[in-house]
Amino acid sequence: MLVVDVCKKLRDFEFAAALEAPCGVTVVVGPSGSGKSTLLRLVAGLLRPDSGSIVLDGRVLADERTFVPPFERNVGMVFQEYALFPHLDVAANVAYGLRARRAAPAEREKLVRRILDRLEIGELRGERVGELSGGQRQRVALARALVIEPAALLLDEPLSALDPLTRARVRDELRAILAGVDVPTLFVTHDQTDRAAFPARVVRIERGRLVAEAS
């Protein structure tokens, strides 16, 4: 369970939202600039809230006294343009978080192989990320975020960088993958089709305020 109740002053308005996300996907919708990415950045620890708290599975990530930095949160994030490391190949991108945890090389290798096979991109392991298609990049980004067994998963418009044709296919694949992910997952999108595709709880953000919606 991810419990967010925070305020953060932004340039145009104040972000003030309370949200409870259980295991499984919660779709976060809203117009661009409404604070969707802000919510993810707050949960990831890339932004510091002005007040309020963020609690994940009983662990306080942020409140008045505590601020756990992003590198100690164990929260996986898939960025909008995927943010793959261009100087590393696919396997090294995916292994990055394991390297951060100082996993032994053999263990690293085993876990990377397992996640690449699970996402059916094992044959890409030696590729430079610059050579990949949009759909492939998205899977690598997902593999990189999942291999560390995060306590929560954040997806920032994971389909928006794709062309319309690829998008429909990747959306189906993503749905299948996320069905097997058993942690609180925030899926941010401004696309109605994406939203309809996920049989999930939907939360709407407008100018930094949350408006609950029925799924």
């Binding site: 590198f71 100690e72 490391f85």
Partner: protein
Amino acid sequence: MIRAATIVASLLLLAFIAIPLAGLFVHLSPAQLGSGLSSPTALTALRLSLFTTAISLVVTLALGTPLAYVLARGEFRGRRLLDAVVDLPIVVPPAVAGLALLLVFGRFGLLGPPLRALGVQLSFTTAAVVMAQVFVASPFYVRAARSGFVAVDRTLEAASATLGMGPLRTFAFITVPLAAPALLGGAVLCWARALGEFGATIMFAGNLAGISQTLPLAVYLNLENGDVTIATAISVLMIAISLATILVVRTYERT
């Protein structure tokens, strides 16, 4: 008409630059070049130049890299002013830089008495050579490194953090490798500028063989003494190094 004038103007300037440099090469026979470069003065100066520029490069990398990162990423008041201060030595005449160093670190300078109390004398030593080089050459590295860091996508650093890497390891594994071409180019340019340093060195460190007489100073002294062969031979060597530097920097800029 305009076309012809453009071509003539371009050729005139190119010839004006190229002919004197080429003249240095044809002035000497290969044998004279060899004897000039193997003369004790030239060898001592070469050794000193390599030694001092290596140290000033290390000092510049160690202190300039954090500074460049702060200038690239920091958001604070006065950053533009700081930027300007860092660039200042590029436009300040080296002789003025040498005088400034002398007035602060010299025996009768601002910090002279406390330094003397500690038994340290800086002016007219090899340390002074290094200080003059760092003063004049480090901005070339800091500028290049700053642009290199600015060009690194901050989202990649954020991604590294969410994957569990702290700031230092993110810097080492993401920022530095991605800025590497700019860092290397800047380091080469900085080293070459330090190697050619003359004005600040002669003001602050003097012109003592084996202590402060670097290659450019040896050119000057040997010409003064009428040893044109040695002066020319060293000059040829320095032009070759400069040319190699430009080619290396161009290669890095392209990647």
